[in-house]
Symmetry: C2
Subunit: 755 residues, 2 copies
Amino acid sequence: MSFLPFLLQAQDNDLLKYVNPLIGSDRMGHTYPGATVPFGMVQLSPDTDTIPYEMNGKYNKDVYKYCAGYQYGDKTIVGFSHTHFSGTGHSDLGDILLMPTTGALQLNPGTAAASEKGFRSLFSHENEKASPGYYSVLLEDHDIFAELTATPRVGVHRYTFNQGGDAHLILDMMHGIYNYDDKNVWTFIRVENDTLVTGFRQTNGWARTRTVYFAIVFSKPVESYGFVNNAPPQVYRGFWRRFDQRTNFPEAAGTQIRGHFDFSVSKGEQITARVALSPVSTDGAVANMLAETPRSDFDTYKKNAETMWQAELGRVRVTMMNNDHMVNFYTALYHAFLSPTIYMDNDSRYKGLDQNIHTTEKFENYTTFSLWDTYRALHPLFTILQQKRTSDMVNSMLAHYDQSVHHMLPVWSHHANENWCMIGYHSVPVIADAVVKGIPGIDYNRALEACVTTARNGWYDGLDDYMRIGYVPDERTGSSVSVTLEYAYDDWCIAQIVTTPDRASPYQDTTIFTEFTSRSRNYRNVWDPSTGFMRPRKTDGSFRPEFDVLSTHGQGFIEGNAWNYSLYVPHEPEGLIELMGGRKRFTEHLDSLFTMDLPDEFFAETEDITREGIIGNYVHGNEPSHHVPYLYNYAGAPRKTQYWVRHIMDTKYLPAPDGLSGNDDCGQMSAWYIFSALGFYPVAPGSDRYDLGSPLVKEAVISLENGKQFTVSTINQSPENVYVKKVELNGKKLDRSWIAHDEIMEGGTLVFYMY
Amino acid sequence: MSFLPFLLQAQDNDLLKYVNPLIGSDRMGHTYPGATVPFGMVQLSPDTDTIPYEMNGKYNKDVYKYCAGYQYGDKTIVGFSHTHFSGTGHSDLGDILLMPTTGALQLNPGTAAASEKGFRSLFSHENEKASPGYYSVLLEDHDIFAELTATPRVGVHRYTFNQGGDAHLILDMMHGIYNYDDKNVWTFIRVENDTLVTGFRQTNGWARTRTVYFAIVFSKPVESYGFVNNAPPQVYRGFWRRFDQRTNFPEAAGTQIRGHFDFSVSKGEQITARVALSPVSTDGAVANMLAETPRSDFDTYKKNAETMWQAELGRVRVTMMNNDHMVNFYTALYHAFLSPTIYMDNDSRYKGLDQNIHTTEKFENYTTFSLWDTYRALHPLFTILQQKRTSDMVNSMLAHYDQSVHHMLPVWSHHANENWCMIGYHSVPVIADAVVKGIPGIDYNRALEACVTTARNGWYDGLDDYMRIGYVPDERTGSSVSVTLEYAYDDWCIAQIVTTPDRASPYQDTTIFTEFTSRSRNYRNVWDPSTGFMRPRKTDGSFRPEFDVLSTHGQGFIEGNAWNYSLYVPHEPEGLIELMGGRKRFTEHLDSLFTMDLPDEFFAETEDITREGIIGNYVHGNEPSHHVPYLYNYAGAPRKTQYWVRHIMDTKYLPAPDGLSGNDDCGQMSAWYIFSALGFYPVAPGSDRYDLGSPLVKEAVISLENGKQFTVSTINQSPENVYVKKVELNGKKLDRSWIAHDEIMEGGTLVFYMY
């Protein structure tokens, strides 16, 4: 049994062919199809539209489609920008858009309905290719074949001009994702010489005070260039204008600038543009360029990017029942390895939360922490597959804490900013999980101090009341129950740090352990026995009279209704089961969740997901219930866990552009799939346990950073055989429904006998 | 003769008492009265009003009064901001305004007519004191005695609360000089702890892309604080606002922010606020604070500032005919030593023109180069009194050149920006003057390369035409004659660098010398023999038919009319005299200039000066004619030079707030006075000669940096004895009307025999 997979792997070294970056690019997935390397700082990808976030002072809901800049259903591409989130449900970025054109110069993007009126172009999916580290498309309006690849800090464009004549590269500094009128705080461009352009874009968006610096090198000298400033003219700005600043004038600055770089090209000629980014300065961008892409050698950089992806994806080598599963698995692994992203220059400098420049000493600095999503499965996955990066990410969070004037670990942070998105303080479970699992390179005492201080910030989102009366009262926030439940879980995580062996604490451990263990039981304070649901509670102790257990809005929850969120006690399922009346009634509750009919009116309120993201009233397209299928294990009904886990994998993950049933959320949706496909899942990060489910793989070999291998294999695996008869770990029958982290790390074989 | 002055000096060590910083603070002088140290980065001064630069899209001419933030005639003070230009005719800055208040919190500035409706306060000159390094005023509305002092990079405030009760320090980030609606590109504030606040202000003004970072330390812990954002609310900004960000929330950012810091004070209690600036980062500001003002010790910093001023002013010790002259002289020396200002942190880092952070290695970095003004007399004065700083300033200009994407030396630069104000490339005469005079620490070849490259930038303000046809044609710019004349002079300066001994040039000297000597004669190309004036000329070679020799506007000149500007050939007066028909006719022309009647209609067009700034048609309040009184020397009429020079000193410089007849222009007006009072003047910087005039001093001892002393003394000096019978240098009669720079530097005595 163990010999065959090795043969298969040897024959099947090209894992890239299983990755389809276009999965999730239609409708709600919010993934981007462009070129990037694992955890790369540059995400170079086509943007298909530029819907503003608000129009006339009102929120424009259509912007939501463009969280990643690309919608598969669109017919035109506006250009290629260098920063993108993968799978988020709010957005930012889309920095430094380049677009090659031919013919007469056009300096407006045009419209989707009339691409010929601007620089954008029609394209067809038939002429589009997306694979790890590489993207290409034929820009039909200009008859230009565009190819993209990337290094960690540089996006590389290669444009093949199928016709000779006048050509232009448009540099659109006005472009951005989730743009609004004054999102551009400032932009600055310098044409250093006829092949080098530098500058920066500073925005006020999801990140309030964000600057990205860039350097662009063209493979061919520019013949002429110019800039237009689309801002309304001001009295002052023309005052000293004694020379033409529009044409061949090498510096431009303002909030609404577009530039053009003009070339004459022969038929079939190629122009390469390298675009390096930096969070520090244009000097930093130039240094990154020199370090990573010293020459205009697209093919080499493409090959390097692909080699990096092969190595990362090769950490797990699976054999599955069919090719669709292979595509699902490796695309999920690809999406899981996109973010958090590195956020530092080659010289180890980065911009900190305090807007000062810092130098990392012992870690690589990461950003884009979508923690409300990713603490659940993505970061736990990294504790197995990316231990070095886990250490770096935890140290990045601790650096954020050190730089935080709020004395807070990240909530949702990106690009030297805290955007305060969503609820809880879910750096804590990520850190606790890493500490409990013994990830090297983390100072446990420093980690504990940061977590404790974060969790005692009374000003934060009802924490003062929570600390005083044991729950966040309904009067304080519309999400009072969700917040209370998640604080309770996060607090349990802090207690787990305290109990981790070999930690020489400067604190009185007993005090902290007692405090946070006590807080971890606060979920009981929002339990309403009269309805059998968690329910918003007022400061005076009474439950709110009006209460709809199906509605997602205005009921004390966020991105989930009472049915789903009442199950959110990942750290103490036994306690929850007791509250809910014991195992039998709890199982019935779960059954109802998966099988009841959710009226359309309630789905319409559910954010971020498609109708297909729901099973009964169970919502897989959002995160709060991701652990729920595994709760049957705790009620003595593991077959039901096995059934629903396989059902979710079969129906909520499809190898098509619209195959993701909700936002991928920086890899959380994908990480759920990877874990579940491997046959286990971290119900409560911060513990060292993974609950067993029903593997989808026929076999998986995980190559660990410690040099060992952990193999999951199956007997009698088939699409119908979703149930697990027995499980053997290293040849010995497992008499429990979980495996421990150390059991994986020690290497070995886990065999599932299916039926 | 040489003993007496030493005695006088010994008895008269307090030079500060002769300085009145309020001189020039009324009407057109545009000086500021606040606290600063010589060439300091911080200029901490009261602002009396906040007139916006434009209103409803139109230029608001009243803003002009507030170039320095203060008008002596005003009745209220809005607060104390930390950056000010001295004497400019356009403006910027006014960063980081603090204002102490008592009673109920008011977060708007109120109006001059109703100070009680805002945080501003009435004040009286009776309760105001301004002296070098110190300023104090009673803020009547709040009964607070406010005192200001400074170190090079820190402004120190001490507020004495004459009444106990509620007190506030207002931090107005919206405030600024020459403000307009979107001048604030971004502002950022962090309350690091209960005594430390950091942040930055980024503006788009005269400097297009400017950021000043700050750190504030209060001597007493803040009890509470808050911020208001006066920008229109946006859809986005409230989206994730799950907690109060207005009160005691330690981070604020936006474009329209005011903050308040609240204290309870007892009667007579003092609160000190130290405000450090940095061009680099808030980290840099904090480091500057720790280096320069580690404690809340106002009195020590005040004493240090005064000691610095005593040392700088003591470089010239004069005895004069009366106290008014003493006040005029030392106030002029004070104003001459305000700018350029240092622009670097204590750790030698600064922001460069390329917006990157640079570290100076061998020089101190300076900014605020008002070169069209200051090349004439201020920088030449520094070649005698501030040789070390001259070297630093030249190296700062060369660094600017290195960082310039335009390959240009500074034109008018401040705070890491080129604002392109005025005409010519007058870094060249400053550099040439320093090279010709042998100032140490300048790489001559690098200097020549920068000057030559600057002067060959065809895109700049008609230079292409100038290089092609020998003048800037009228079609290109409204200032074509002024530009041509100044280019010709600047070009002559370049030729002087070439001829400086001991320069091992990488260029073919002959080529450059020939090219620029030839260009230096281009003044002849705009000479119109038919009218006897310099006159706008068209591309086809013809002179413009319509031409008014009295009008300042639209006649091909800037800040001067044809009468004045036609005399602008400082490098070749003999050539000009020849053009004008010889010495006699030239003398008659000068006589007419000084004695003719300029009708009011023409004065009304003359910018930046008061009616008192004019003698006949000679305009002293602007710069283009500053050399003109000395031109009589070249026509064989030195008595007329002597007469008019004394007349100008007597009538255009008065020891009163409205005593300056025009903008002090970063010290140029003051430097003219200092030179003239000493009895000599640099007609053509770039030569090593100073033309002799008529000294106003009875005696002056100049202490040179080389340890030597150069003494100017007079025999028979009196208000009436304005003429010079003979001059002796080191006891030998001088048979020429000039002295050489080296003669000063070697030390010695210059005696004027007056009658």
